[in-house]
């Protein structure tokens, strides 16, 4: 087990493309960190640099108290789970799981014992003599996990390990991976483009966009205090409502007419982008803000009301007992539900 330190780590591919801008952060011993961002934002590149599969072109990377920039992937004491599982097709499950141990000079008896343990933990005991081609997607996923777990490494690396599974299995494996990581206490970096996975699994989330870190924080911090418009719209489903408005004298004006009270003590004045989470508003006859419901999305436990607020698209999240008819209503929006962003830079004010 180990902490991980990135100090200005960046990647410029040989073709000159800077996939990861110099980034610095620490991961504590035993922490589960999720790297999340849209496709192509450099998540895999960053993870692969940690694994040693990609050269680090800027900065330094420490695993434990050792700088590993020039250390071979096999010597970094990391284990990686790949998106397509990357099982060895010609080896049985037993050999797949044991291969990494065999090359580390573990005795045959010890390998067998460890493989059995890992297999039991992952419910693979009955499948040890099968080849990967004889397994279902979920079972292959478990074998890939087994291959990582059996080595008892300092660091787990996951690159979208669940994205090839169907939704049901994905939810189940999400919980299993998280529980396994808790139990083993191995420091983990988990890459995903799925914000639900990020929110549910992470101790801390790192949001990446265009090769740059947008925000680092706990799921709650990221969700409630997004550092930028990008984070606000990327994290959360449905995303935060973002509306361009004017801020003057502690008041927010939309389209000149609709007025909201700004969060307390704002020194800034001028154009802003206002962000409101769909569940942070209540429908209230006495509310100050008119809202036109156009479409009701029935989700069973709750409903999403899509409509217009001062001419802007706006979504409201309400409980199942709340009304669900299209038409005019009024909303109550508390000042502390409002987040403000600079319209051009997108940064939080």
């Amino acid at each position: 087990m180990a902490q991980v330190t990135l100090n200005g780590v960046g990647k410029t591919y040989p073709n000159g493309f800077e996939a990861v801008k110099p980034s610095s952060f620490d991961i504590a011993d035993g922490e589960f960190v999720v790297l999340v961002g849209p496709s192509g934002c450099g998540k895999s590149t960053l993870l692969r640099m940690v694994a040693g599969l990609e050269d680090i072109t800027a900065g330094s990377l420490n695993i434990g108290d050792r700088e590993v920039n020039d250390v071979d992937p096999a010597d970094r004491d990391v284990a990686m789970v790949f998106q397509n599982y990357a099982l060895y097709p010609h080896m049985t499950v037993r050999k797949n799981i044991g291969y990494g141990l065999k090359n580390r000079g573990t005795s045959a008896a010890e390998i067998e014992a460890k493989v059995q343990d890992a297999a039991k933990m992952l419910d693979l005991s009955a499948l040890l003599d099968r080849k990967p081609s004889q397994l279902s997607g979920g079972q292959r996923q478990r074998v890939a996990m087994g291959r990582a777990v059996v080595r008892d490494p300092a660091l787990f690396l996951f690159d979208e390990p669940l994205s090839n599974l169907d939704a049901k299995l994905r939810n189940q494996m999400r919980i299993e991976i998280k529980a396994l990581q808790r139990r083993l206490g191995v420091t983990s970096i988990y890459v995903t483009h799925d914000q639900v996975e990020a929110m549910t699994m992470a101790d801390r989330i790192i949001v990446l966009n265009g090769g740059e870190i947008e925000q680092i924080g706990t799921p709650a911090e990221i969700y409630h205090n997004p550092a930028s418009k990008f984070v606000a719209s990327f994290m959360g489903a449905p995303p935060m409502n973002l509306i361009d408005a004017q801020l003057e004298n502690g008041e927010i004006r939309m389209n000149g007419s609709t007025v909201l009270t700004a969060p307390s003590d704002q020194a800034y004045a001028g154009p802003v982008t206002m962000g409101i989470r769909p569940e942070d508003v209540v429908i209230d006859e006495a509310g100050s803000t008119p809202f036109t419901i156009e479409i009701v999305e029935e989700l069973g436990a709750h409903r999403l009301l899509h409509g217009r607020l001062a001419g802007h698209a706006f979504t409201v999240h309400v409980g199942k007992e709340s009304l669900a008819n299209a038409g005019e209503v009024r909303l109550q929006i508390k000042p502390d539900a409002i987040r403000l962003f600079q319209p051009e830079t997108g940064k939080a004010i």
């Binding site: 040693g52 990391v78 284990a79 990686m80 099982l87 060895y88 990494g100 090359n103 081609s133």
Partner: protein, 293 residues
């Protein structure tokens, strides 16, 4: 999916007829004729033939020259197959490191494919020429009194080198595409599991290449046995004399130069059986290949 079908039997028959007649005229008919004439002793001047049963076959096993040529063919096939496969594999592994993902290089390397067999043979003549050949100079520099067409081993060496050289590009292309079809993540997983590149090659890459390798093994054996005819004929200029030759060349020499049609036919039949065995073997292997994916 809806299966397309023919309403009448005559259309499919008509469509198959050209192909079937080509096979019949150019394969079954001569093959049948060879089997038949292998049981007869033909008069060299074409005045008639006598049924002799298996005598043409039993004569062959008693013929020390035939057995010597058969032995040379075995040695030749083993060496050509071994060297053309192993050198091609080595080159493909090296090339794969450089051109991973770069498709344009791959296309460039394919061009080697296009060297015509007679051109290869002719290049062999120049390379091994008694007086001006650079290979001759090279062997002489190593202290070997190299004399192509005069010395048995010299000629055999030239056969082997030219045959290997001609076959390497084919093997190379297959090995390279085999290597490139191994998923990147599988190699990377192996990099994390095993420090040694050589061990990774034998543990992961080589077994995953095995289906390609088995397939090429059959192709190469067939090549060495049969398709080297042109190279040998070009190198010995149609006059083998005391030089080595392969079984196929012997069929040609006995049948068309020696006018021993019966004996030559018996030799052809033996080779046909050999091809049949190889083909069956190959189909078995192709069935096994599917198992991997």
């Amino acid at each position: 999916m809806k299966r397309a079908g023919f309403t009448s039997v005559w259309l499919p028959v008509a469509l198959l007829l050209p192909q079937l007649s080509i096979i019949a005229i150019f394969f079954y008919w001569p093959a049948g004729w060879a089997v038949q004439s292998s049981f007869y002793l033909q008069d060299p001047f074409g005045f008639g033939s006598t049924f002799v049963g298996f005598e043409n076959y039993t004569d062959l096993t008693a013929n020390s020259e035939y057995m010597r040529i058969a032995w040379f063919t075995v040695v030749f096939t083993v060496l050509v197959t071994f060297f053309s496969l192993s050198i091609a594999l080595l080159l493909a592994v090296k090339a794969d490191k450089v051109i991973r993902g770069a498709k344009s290089y791959r296309t460039l390397l394919m061009w080697v494919y296009a060297v015509a067999p007679p051109v290869a043979g002719f290049m062999g003549i120049m390379l091994f020429h008694q007086h001006t050949g650079p290979m001759t100079d090279f062997f002489k520099a190593l202290g070997w009194d190299y004399k192509i067409l005069v010395d048995y081993n010299s000629t055999a060496t030239a056969f082997i080198i030219v045959s290997v050289w001609k076959q390497i590009p084919v093997n190379f292309i297959f090995f390279l595409s085999g290597l490139q079809s191994i998923p990147r993540a599988v190699r990377e997983a192996a990099m994390i599991d095993n420090r040694s590149g050589v061990r990774r090659f034998w543990d992961i890459t080589f077994p995953l290449l095995a289906p390609t390798g088995f397939f090429l093994l059959i192709i190469n054996i067939t090549y060495a046995l049969f398709d080297t005819f042109g190279i040998i004929d070009t190198l010995v200029k149609g006059e083998p004399g005391n030089n080595p030759m392969t079984l196929v060349y012997k069929v040609y020499m006995d049948g068309f130069r020696g006018n021993d049609l019966g004996g030559s036919s018996a030799q052809s039949v033996i080779l046909m059986v050999l091809v049949l065995v190889l083909t069956v073997f190959q189909f078995r292997l192709i069935e096994r290949r599917i198992h991997y994916s």
